[in-house]
C-alpha cells in the first residue's frame, strides 16, 4: 500500500518540474550546492519547530504520546539546539536517566516545568544566566568519568 502513496513533497517537486522529479527518483546525484541548501533548510526547519513547540508549552497534540528524542528545553535555550552540551545532556537522558525509575520521573518532571521556565527566563535574563550555570554544572556531573 505504502508504495502507492504519493507524498506531498513529491507532488510539490512535480509541480516544480516533472523531469527533475523523475531524475531524482532515478537516483541521479543532486548538485552539491543544492545538497548544502537542503541541509541548511533542514536545520532552519528544526529550529523553527523547536521554537514553535516551546511557545506552545512544549508539546503538540499529536505527539504527546510519541517517543520524543530532541527535547531538552533549558539546555537548548541556554546553549542552542545542536550545541555539544545539549547533545551530551540528551545522550545522558537517553542512556542513563531513562534506564532508571528515578531518572524517568525526573525527566517527566523536567518536561512538565521546563517550557514555562524557559518562558520566564526569556523575560528575566538573570534567570537565564543562572539556568546556563546550572546546566553547565549538570553537564559536568553527567559527563564525569567519560
Amino acid at each position: 500500500m505504502k508504495k502507492d502513496i504519493v507524498y506531498a513533497s513529491d507532488a510539490g517537486k512535480a509541480a516544480y518540474c516533472p523531469h527533475s522529479l523523475s531524475l531524482s527518483k532515478k537516483k541521479f546525484k543532486s548538485h552539491a550546492a543544492a545538497v548544502e541548501l537542503q541541509k541548511q533548510g533542514t536545520k532552519e526547519h528544526d529550529n523553527l519547530t523547536d521554537a514553535v513547540i516551546l511557545e506552545n508549552g512544549g508539546q503538540d497534540g499529536a505527539s504527546k504520546s510519541e517517543t520524543q528524542d530532541s527535547r531538552c528545553y533549558v539546555a537548548s535555550y541556554a546553549f542552542g539546539v545542536e550545541h555539544p552540551v545539549t547533545l551530551d545532556l540528551r545522550n545522558w537522558r537517553d542512556n542513563v536517566l531513562l534506564n532508571r525509575f528515578g531518572g524517568r520521573t525526573l525527566v517527566k518532571a523536567y518536561y512538565l516545568v521546563s517550557p514555562q521556565w524557559v518562558r520566564i527566563c526569556r523575560q528575566l535574563p538573570v534567570l537565564g544566566r543562572l539556568s546556563k550555570a546550572a546546566v553547565t554544572r549538570i553537564h559536568s556531573v553527567a559527563t564525569r568519568g567519560r
Binding site: 508504495k3 502507492d4 502513496i5 504519493v6 507524498y7 506531498a8 513533497s9 513529491d10 507532488a11 510539490g12 517537486k13 512535480a14 509541480a15 516544480y16 518540474c17 516533472p18 523531469h19 527533475s20 522529479l21 523523475s22 531524475l23 527518483k25 532515478k26 541521479f28 543532486s30 548538485h31 543544492a34 545538497v35 541548501l37 537542503q38 541548511q40 533548510g41 532552519e44 526547519h45 523553527l48 519547530t49 514553535v52 513547540i53 511557545e55 506552545n56 508549552g57 503538540d60 497534540g61 499529536a62 505527539s63 510519541e66 517517543t67 528524542d69 530532541s70 528515578g102 531518572g103 525526573l106 518532571a109 523536567y110 516545568v113 514555562q116 521556565w117 520566564i120 549538570i138 556531573v141
Partner: protein, 170 residues
C-alpha cells in the same frame, strides 16, 4: 543518588517559582506568525504521517494549528532566502492538507517564508481539492514507479537553482 535528590529538589523549587509567577498563556503567534493552538508539528521520524487512502496521498505537514476562530490551518515553512512562494509550495501544501483531512478538518493553509506569510483558502470538498493537484499527484506517481518524465517547467529561471540541473535532458 545524591544527584537525583539534588535535581528533584531543584525541580520542586522550579515548580514553586512557576506557581508564584504563573501567568496567562502567551500569544501563540510567535515564531510562526499564526495564532492558535498547536495540534501537530513535524518532529522527524517519530512524527505521524497523515495518509488519505482514498486519494493515495500522504504527508507530514510542518504544523497544524487550530486558529482562534476554530478553523484548522496547515502551515508549511520554506526557508529559501528570497522568501518567494512558488506554485510548487502551494501544491505541496494542498496535498498535505488533503492527506491530513482524514484526521483534522483543514480549511486553510499558510505558507510561511522568511519574508511573508501567504494564506491560501481551500475548497471545502476533498474531491475539489484533489482536482486542483491531481496532475502533479499523477506525475509523482509515475516518477515513483520509475518512469522518466519529459515534461519540463515553463519557468527557465527555476532551472538555475534546480538540484538536477547537471543531468537535465531538456
Amino acid at each position: 543518588m545524591f544527584v537525583y535528590l539534588l535535581m528533584l529538589f531543584v525541580v520542586f523549587i522550579l515548580l514553586f517559582v512557576l506557581f508564584v509567577f504563573r501567568e496567562s498563556p502567551p500569544s501563540r503567534g510567535g515564531s510562526l506568525g499564526v495564532e492558535g493552538e498547536l495540534l501537530y508539528a513535524d518532529q522527524g521520524r517519530n512524527s505521524k504521517t497523515f495518509i488519505s487512502k482514498k486519494y493515495g496521498v500522504g504527508a507530514k505537514p510542518d504544523f497544524l494549528i487550530r486558529l482562534k476562530n476554530g478553523k484548522v490551518a496547515l502551515v508549511e515553512y520554506k526557508s529559501r532566502d528570497n522568501g518567494n512562494v512558488y506554485e510548487s509550495d502551494i501544491v505541496q501544501a494542498k496535498v498535505s492538507a488533503l492527506a491530513a483531512r482524514d484526521t483534522y478538518p483543514v480549511e486553510v493553509v499558510f505558507i510561511k517564508t522568511k519574508r511573508r506569510l501567504q494564506e491560501i483558502p481551500l475548497p471545502k470538498s476533498n474531491d475539489a481539492l484533489y482536482k486542483e493537484v491531481e496532475l502533479y499527484v499523477m506525475y509523482a506517481r509515475l516518477a515513483n514507479k520509475g518512469k522518466m518524465l519529459y515534461e519540463y517547467t515553463d519557468n527557465l529561471n527555476q532551472c538555475a537553482t534546480c538540484s538536477m540541473r547537471t543531468h537535465c535532458q531538456r
